[in-house]
């Protein structure tokens, strides 16, 4: 497909806008010298990713991303930052020396290359049929409770363990406080 054909289609424009949103949000997360701006950059990234999922017809995944990540995780991030320290304006001690930046760039670049290579190697030549319209949520539910019931139960057990662990770590009994 030539570039002229590509640019002539509306969905490619939407994809381009969402892709730019995802990447610029991600850039803001790592580059901003204000922690709150970084967290808000993450909102842009996750919101655009939700848009990409919507374009693929994966409505449930998209709105889960909005509800869980934007509505809960980022809000807790912001809440945690604001309740401890959140100065307005820019901080100088957020920036690292050049050597650390270079190392981080190498590590994340090679990680990206590895994941990209793994995906291309596994699915590079496979053509996935594009579903007609959005995926039905009921289908996801049924496959989760039939084909994938054991991974689902393992996940919920893991989350429960994390919850109990979190409470144990954070909780101080009144007697211990008195000492």
């Amino acid at each position: 497909m030539s570039f002229g054909d590509w640019i002539g289609q509306l969905e490619n424009w939407i994809f381009a806008i969402l892709a730019v949103g995802t990447l610029s949000g991600a850039f803001l997360v790592v580059h901003s010298r204000n922690v709150i701006h970084s967290a808000l950059g993450l909102v842009l990234t996750l919101g655009s990713s939700a848009g990409l999922f919507l374009m693929l017809g994966a409505e449930f995944v998209a709105w889960t991303l909005v509800m869980v990540y934007i509505g809960a995780v980022i809000v807790l991030f912001l809440f945690g930052i604001m309740i401890t320290r959140a100065p307005l304006g820019y901080e100088s001690d957020l920036s690292h020396p050049m050597s650390v930046k270079v190392t981080a760039a190498i590590v994340s670049g090679s990680m990206f290359a590895l994941i990209g290579w793994a995906f291309l190697d596994a699915f590079g030549s496979v053509e996935f049929p594009v579903a007609e319209g959005p995926t039905r949520t009921a289908d996801i539910g049924i496959s989760m409770f039939t084909n994938y019931v054991i991974p689902f139960e393992v996940m919920s057990f893991l989350l429960l363990a994390a919850l109990v662990g979190g409470i144990v770590l954070a909780r101080q009994d009144p007697e211990e406080v008195d000492e």
Partner: protein, 336 residues
């Protein structure tokens, strides 16, 4: 009709519904609140009954200067009201006024409505932090703590409804309430969910949505005697009006969701399908305004909760009750 025309019509209908609903509720708040306190309320604007008061307020807000406080985070400060309003407008997209009168009947409408309205929390935190004002920051933090705490019982209450209806689509939930609950001889009687097992769920939903809207008795985030106006302290002009609009449009959308989930939406027991087709919007909107009246009534009746009472109500009473409600609903669903 072409896609673009249809899209424009739908966007305008959603905006009209939101603005119209919010203006009526703002006027009702002024007038009902006044009469509950033995006052008359708006009287002069528009000639009779002061009906033009909300429009006059809107025009007044637009004329004021749009101030950004010194040392505030300019971009975040200006963006925050849009984020709050976006979370509110989004809900109106999936509200069905009649079987056919709906902008987009999503397969997972109930889930979408809850997801998109959680954007409001983000906007409130942005507003509170970026104002460079301690009142705003404390107000934003209180609002966030409250919204996190009450979003859980709200979602859990809706989970029980989804289990009973067997679908997440809002139209589907309303249609499920048209199924006969019991029969007397030949006569099938359909009842809304509030009468067929979801009365506790309805109570949880209404209390949690009052808290989500930060309305009295849950208005600690903007407690004027201690925080001036909370996270909206520094806002003026059209941006203040956007927060104001979001609050009242939120009241309409929350009432509409409660109507759809528990009060049978556009259905009325004993009405035929063809009658619902025509009268649906009238029935739906009447139910929404009835619930909004309940919200206003509560506001002018009750005193404010303390912060710790408010948190313990959510975590120690509403969430366990909502979980119990899910367990009971699921048991009934499986057994019967």
């Amino acid at each position: 009709m072409s896609f673009a025309v249809l899209l424009t019509v739908k966007v305008l209908a959603v905006l009209g519904l939101m603005l119209g609903g919010a203006l009526v509720v703002i006027y009702a708040e002024l007038k009902v609140g006044a009469h509950m306190q033995n006052r008359i309320g708006p009287y002069f604007a528009g000639g009779r009954f002061g009906w033009a008061q909300p429009f006059a307020d809107a025009l007044k807000f637009m004329q004021k200067e749009d101030l950004v406080p010194d040392g505030a985070d300019d971009r975040v400060y200006k963006l925050a009201p849009y984020v709050v309003l976006m979370g509110t407008i989004g809900v109106f997209v999936v509200l069905p006024l009649s079987p056919r009168f709906v902008a987009r009947d999503l397969d997972l409408g109930a889930f979408y409505a809850l997801a998109i309205s959680s954007l409001t929390t983000l906007g409130v935190l942005m507003a509170g932090w970026s104002s460079n004002n301690k009142y705003s920051l404390i107000g934003g933090l209180r609002a966030a703590a409250q919204l996190i705490a009450y979003e859980l019982p709200l979602v859990l209450a809706v989970v029980a409804v989804a289990i009973q209806a067997g679908t997440l689509s809002i139209s589907g939930i309303i249609e499920a309430q048209a199924a006969p609950a019991f029969s007397i001889g030949e006569l099938n009687v359909a009842l809304p969910y509030i009468l067929t097992g979801q009365i506790i769920g309805f109570a949880i939903f209404v209390v949690a949505s009052l808290a989500e809207l930060s309305r009295i008795p849950f208005d600690m985030p903007i407690a004027e005697s201690e925080l001036t106006m909370g996270f909206v302290t520094e806002y003026s002009s059209i941006r203040f009006a956007m927060f104001f609009l979001a609050e009242y449009a939120g009241m309409v959308s929350m009432s509409a969701l409660a109507t759809a989930f528990y009060l049978g939406g556009y259905q009325l027991p004993g009405l035929s399908a063809t009658a619902v087709e025509v009268l649906g919007p009238v029935i739906f909107i009447s139910k929404v305004f009835l619930l909004s009246f309940l919200f206003i009534w509560l506001r002018w009746t009750l005193p404010r909760f303390r912060e710790d009472q408010l948190q313990s109500l959510a975590w120690r009473w509403l969430i366990p009750a909502a979980l119990l409600n899910i367990a009971i609903t699921a048991t009934f669903k499986v057994v019967f």
